[in-house]
């Protein structure tokens, strides 16, 4: 494996290899500090509804990150990530409402369940290339509400009515009196922050390069000694875990889960978020989350059908004009500025 790291494979398109630029420590500290301020400030500036929306945007960003891990970085197209989102949400909801678990205790369980299911789905996915996988996951996404509504699990899932839960209260040791909305925002940002950091770490290392090599040229990757089957199934598992955790967060943030809120549209929304934010971009996932939360709200003012139409038009427009999404646009602008300066 070590030989593969610095060898360019002729005939493949060179992908962006992370270049480690030396940044002075004070600059790093400044960026981290700035990031923290930007992350914390909204909790004290925004009213409760906009803050809730921002919380949801962060959660959607995390879900898009999950999709990006398998589709963007590993090239396995999934149109069914809404299923993992639903699975995570239901895992948390069931544990909280039936067994009175605390939210934090449900997170590892939700992650484990999603990881196992994702790993399981990764196996048939191995045999299905590109379009077929998209098609299979698409049908999974369509079938999700039906499965959730089924009578045999109604006692646990609450059937069509769904389940109600309550947001966790801010712990007593927190300074100042945080409202549940503020605390929920911090929970979402904290959990998402950890996941983003872990994924970023995974992608910029050896495994990340192996994932991208598998995506770009599987035969070449195999010839270099990479176990592409293991890589792909594990990528599916990681991706399912991340999206599932986002689902858990959304369940407590909305305080409600019901089968019809996990329709095909959720999966499509995640896909749109990934393309618009930036395929194979960690930070782009966050842009994607912001986009899928705020654009439909604006569009809904025009007509009930408008968000879908605008999604569709923007999706195609981005694919035609900016295939690397919003993150790619920023990268291009930054590159131009640096070139000039």
């Amino acid at each position: 494996m070590s030989a593969s790291e610095n060898v360019a494979i002729p005939g493949t398109i060179p992908q962006a290899v992370p270049v480690r630029r030396g940044m002075p420590a004070w600059q790093v500290a400044l960026v981290v500090l700035g990031g923290l301020v930007v992350a914390i400030a909204p909790a004290f500036v925004l009213e409760s509804f906009p803050l809730f929306q921002l919380t949801m945007a962060v959660i959607m960003g995390l879900a898009v990150l999950g999709l990006n891990m398998v589709t963007g970085f590993n090239g396995q197209i999934s149109l069914g990530h809404g299923a993992f989102f639903a699975l995570g949400a239901y895992a948390t909801a069931i544990l909280m409402s039936h067994l009175d678990w605390s939210f934090w205790a449900t997170l590892p369980v939700s992650a484990a369940v999603c990881g196992v299911v994702g790993y399981g789905i990764g196996f048939p996915a191995l045999r299905l290339g590109g379009l077929y996988l998209a098609l299979t996951t698409f049908s999974l996404a369509v079938a999700v509400p039906q499965i959730l509504k089924h009578k045999s699990i109604e006692d646990w899932t609450g059937g069509v009515q769904g389940l109600f839960l309550v947001k966790p209260d801010a712990p007593a040791w927190m300074p100042g009196a945080l409202t549940p909305d503020q605390w929920m925002y911090f929970v979402a940002v904290g959990v998402a922050g950890v996941c983003f950091l872990l994924c970023w770490n995974l992608i910029r290392g050896r495994i990340g390069r192996a994932l991208m090599a598998t995506r770009d040229h599987q035969t070449a990757a195999e010839a270099m000694g990479m176990d592409t089957a293991t890589l792909k199934t594990r990528a599916f598992a990681v991706s399912a875990i991340v999206t599932g955790i986002a689902g858990s967060l959304s369940a407590v943030a909305v305080e409600f889960v019901a089968p019809d809120s996990f329709s095909l549209m959720v999966s499509i929304t995640l896909f749109v978020g990934m393309v618009v934010g930036g395929v194979a971009s960690i930070l782009g996932s966050l842009f994607g989350g912001l986009f899928v939360l705020f654009v439909p709200n604006i569009a809904e003012a025009i007509s009930k059908a408008a968000p879908g139409v605008i999604y569709g038009i923007l999706l195609i427009a981005f694919l035609f004009i900016l295939p690397d999404g919003f993150a790619g646009l920023l990268r291009r602008i930054a590159g131009r500025l640096r070139g000039r300066g």
Binding site: T71, G75, I77, L79, P124, R127, L128, G130, L131, Y132, A134, L135, T136, F138, S139, L140, V142, A143, Q146, I147, K149, H150, K151, T219, L264, I268, F271, V272, V275, V279, S303, K304, A305, A306, P307, G308, V309, Y311, G312, I313, L315, I316, L319, F320, P323
Partner: protein, 290 residues
């Protein structure tokens, strides 16, 4: 036993609808090696166009013919405007364009025609019960229409020079281009034909499930399943697969899982076929050089 026979015949009738949509999918697959996720939405839009013509007072079959032709044009236009620019892009881009198309067409249909369920007329009526009440006139008629469409498609591909050119363009684009076939236009033609066949399927299914913007979502999945059972590159296989899925779905719905899990049956069929026998029952096993 009478109930069982009725389930089978009702399955064959709905299977006819799946078979036509499956045929449309296979048409596009043969011509372009794509699976159009927006096929169902495009068919729904066509059906709405037909509905507004019938409402405006046109005779049924005039509206039928006009809709089929209009749908053909829409299909060609979609290929020219949306698919052609990304012809050489990665699969992810194609899937993205299909999803975009699905969103635009599906929501535009709702926007223009509204979300209320509408009744769509059936051209087939009978004075008395057919085959001892086992089958309705519409079921019989729509099955017949499906078989007519299949025969026409078969004759077109087998015996016309245009059909031969289309097959050549799909089979080996480079050689086809060398002998003077306009490969790009053949692809557009494939999209047009698929849209036309989809329109026929939409108009046949609308009297059964009633007309609303999301009418085809489930049907599309069954059609996928049917196309896969038969082999995605085999029109005859797609039709047989479509009928098989119709019967299977009806039997499973009546005796095994109940009506609430019908879509999950489609999912199970799709996964089952893709995992066990990806080329389908009648499809060619494709091996590719690397």
């Amino acid at each position: 036993m009478d109930g069982f026979a009725h389930q089978i015949i009702a399955g064959i009738a709905t299977g006819g609808i799946y078979a036509s949509v499956a045929l449309a999918l296979v048409m596009i697959y043969q011509a372009t090696h794509h699976v159009n996720f927006a096929q169902g939405e495009m068919a729904t839009l066509s059906t709405f166009i037909a509905w507004s013509m019938v409402e405006a007072g046109f005779p049924y079959w005039v509206a039928f013919a006009a809709t089929v032709m209009l749908s053909f044009l829409i299909g060609v236009l979609v290929e020219r405007l949306l698919m052609r620019p990304v012809q050489n892009a990665p699969v992810l881009t194609h899937v993205g364009v299909f999803i975009g198309l699905l969103l635009i067409v599906g929501n535009m249909t709702g926007w223009i025609f509204g979300y209320t369920t509408k009744v769509y007329p059936s051209p087939f009526t009978s004075s008395g019960p057919l085959m001892g009440g086992l089958i309705s006139a519409h079921e019989l008629g729509s099955t017949a229409v499906t078989l007519v469409v299949l025969t026409l498609v078969f004759l077109f591909f087998r015996y016309t020079s245009l059909g031969l050119a289309m097959r050549a363009a799909a089979y080996n684009p480079r050689s086809a281009r060398l002998v003077g076939i306009r490969v790009g236009w053949m692809l557009a033609l494939g999209w047009g034909l698929a849209a036309a066949i989809g329109a026929v399927a939409g108009m046949m299914v609308a009297p059964v499930v009633f007309l609303d913007p999301s009418m085809m979502t489930g049907i599309l999945l069954y059609a996928f399943a049917g196309a896969l059972i038969g082999g995605i590159d085999n029109p005859l296989g797609a039709v047989i697969g479509g009928f098989a899925v119709g019967v299977l779905e009806n039997l499973a719905g009546a005796y095994v899982v109940g009506t609430e899990l019908k879509l999950t049956v489609a999912l199970a069929i799709i996964i089952g076929v893709l995992v066990v026998r990806p080329s389908g029952l009648l499809g060619r096993v494709v091996t590719s050089r690397v």
